[in-house]
Symmetry: D3
Subunit: 115 residues, 6 copies
Amino acid sequence: MSNPVEEFNAYRAKMNKKMLDDNNKIVKRIFNLDTNAFLEGSLPKKTKELLGLGNSLVLRCDDCVRYHLEECYKIGFSKEEVVEAMSVSLLIGGTIVIPHLRRAYEYWEALETQV
Amino acid sequence: MSNPVEEFNAYRAKMNKKMLDDNNKIVKRIFNLDTNAFLEGSLPKKTKELLGLGNSLVLRCDDCVRYHLEECYKIGFSKEEVVEAMSVSLLIGGTIVIPHLRRAYEYWEALETQV
Amino acid sequence: MSNPVEEFNAYRAKMNKKMLDDNNKIVKRIFNLDTNAFLEGSLPKKTKELLGLGNSLVLRCDDCVRYHLEECYKIGFSKEEVVEAMSVSLLIGGTIVIPHLRRAYEYWEALETQV
Amino acid sequence: MSNPVEEFNAYRAKMNKKMLDDNNKIVKRIFNLDTNAFLEGSLPKKTKELLGLGNSLVLRCDDCVRYHLEECYKIGFSKEEVVEAMSVSLLIGGTIVIPHLRRAYEYWEALETQV
Amino acid sequence: MSNPVEEFNAYRAKMNKKMLDDNNKIVKRIFNLDTNAFLEGSLPKKTKELLGLGNSLVLRCDDCVRYHLEECYKIGFSKEEVVEAMSVSLLIGGTIVIPHLRRAYEYWEALETQV
Amino acid sequence: MSNPVEEFNAYRAKMNKKMLDDNNKIVKRIFNLDTNAFLEGSLPKKTKELLGLGNSLVLRCDDCVRYHLEECYKIGFSKEEVVEAMSVSLLIGGTIVIPHLRRAYEYWEALETQV
């Protein structure tokens, strides 16, 4: 299980299940909103995924970045587009974002190289 | 001078000029990058403006939000689209973002009502 | 209208109404959750209000602190208890919290002195 | 040594000792305050532990969350109460808190399953 | 009383007094540490003031920046040196720091022009 | 390859190369600024390295702290001086900084013990 994408998704799925099984109403509703917020709306779904990625990067949350990178990958963004979005976050968020950008690059590579 | 849009822009322009006149190389180059980062690229300029808005809102910077709201307004985003982008930032950033959202709404209104 | 408590609440109510009238589903649901999260549950309502205050203070959101201070005031916390909760946030959040603590003290005073 | 609770506490104790042995006055006094701030006072010790947990979670510090989870566990909070406190932090801090909540759940489980 | 330096210091002194009069032990000790941390030590007092300024700017706390700007001004830093320190914080903290930098410039000007 | 300093630098160099090879203009220029900002200027290079360290610590970026610790080590700062700078960041940033301080201590030790 040395595939970082599978590993991340397996852990994420396992723990999310535990949280949802707990039946805390606030937690459940926020998870539910999290699905709804990224659906097609006034803005295209693609744009919203990119917003999720950019927001996660300036807030420097590696796991959130990984999640949105995969969504961006699956929805068809090119690496160049994703890097451009991340470069906006780098400028706004400053060089403190660089270590997170390194890990984002590494994860994108993992997304591209998995079969 | 009670127009909040004019007031904000006048202060912003006055202080930016003072900063740039100072000739600190790092400050000047970052201002320069700030212009370049939002130009048409692999991503459309419109998408990049929205990224700037979303990033500013989760980082809870009122002045940055105001600046990007005006850019979004001028480039032709509808209120509904802008609100949808901001709702993503609200979900990701949490209720701590609400006071900034109030001020964003107020500023958007000012953008719409100025002649 | 120089009463800071009334002024804050009037602005808050006016802008919240505008946001909710807009019918963005994510915004509406988060406002709804915001009401639910502070109801009596496994934890007493009083404890949850204090958690709201503490969380707002370490995140350095003046308006959120003001809102939760009023809730704590109305639910019957003494100043000493509120200050003790805020001192925990000061320690965890560091001296960067001090300016927000000053404004919190000022607002608590306004809560105590309004008729 | 695959017990995550023991592992965390061993590392924490080892490094804290090194820091305190260094005799930097500010560091020592802040460690000392850290002990004092969570003692019984105007507020019950239990409430203060919960405040420490909530503050740590919105500030997204995994190790601080782990430390306060153990304190909450030892002082007798039920999982339901702890989850309710964390749900307040999730709402205030936004979905960016979710990855930290996953790790908090995992650590709570480790606390419950160690002999 | 339209001098921003006097106004800031008067408010700061008035509210700090109220906080200290309250006799909360944690608050008092942190204020005490705040004085001690910036005294001459292994590092020169001047360097420590600059660290206080830089840290405050990346954390985007306007009042903290104002306080440390005055300390830097009184201890004899030139504007060029202060701007250079702030340019490091701008790069590390990103363009989100710019609005705070504007207000820092304005305050430095107030420090220079008051009699 | 169990030397944490070598390991960190190898990963950092490998990923930085990938990012720069990508030819995104914003990313490249920010990396370039990152070199320029810490050169001798109005302020001595040593002071600027310390500012980089302090800023990184209050922003709680472990990798940034590691990078600046090594720069501080190579430029000749004593452990006592570095700890004093970090104690200022601890006070300003609060106890939430402590876990990052633990890792900073551990990394400084690794810097001292590598041949």
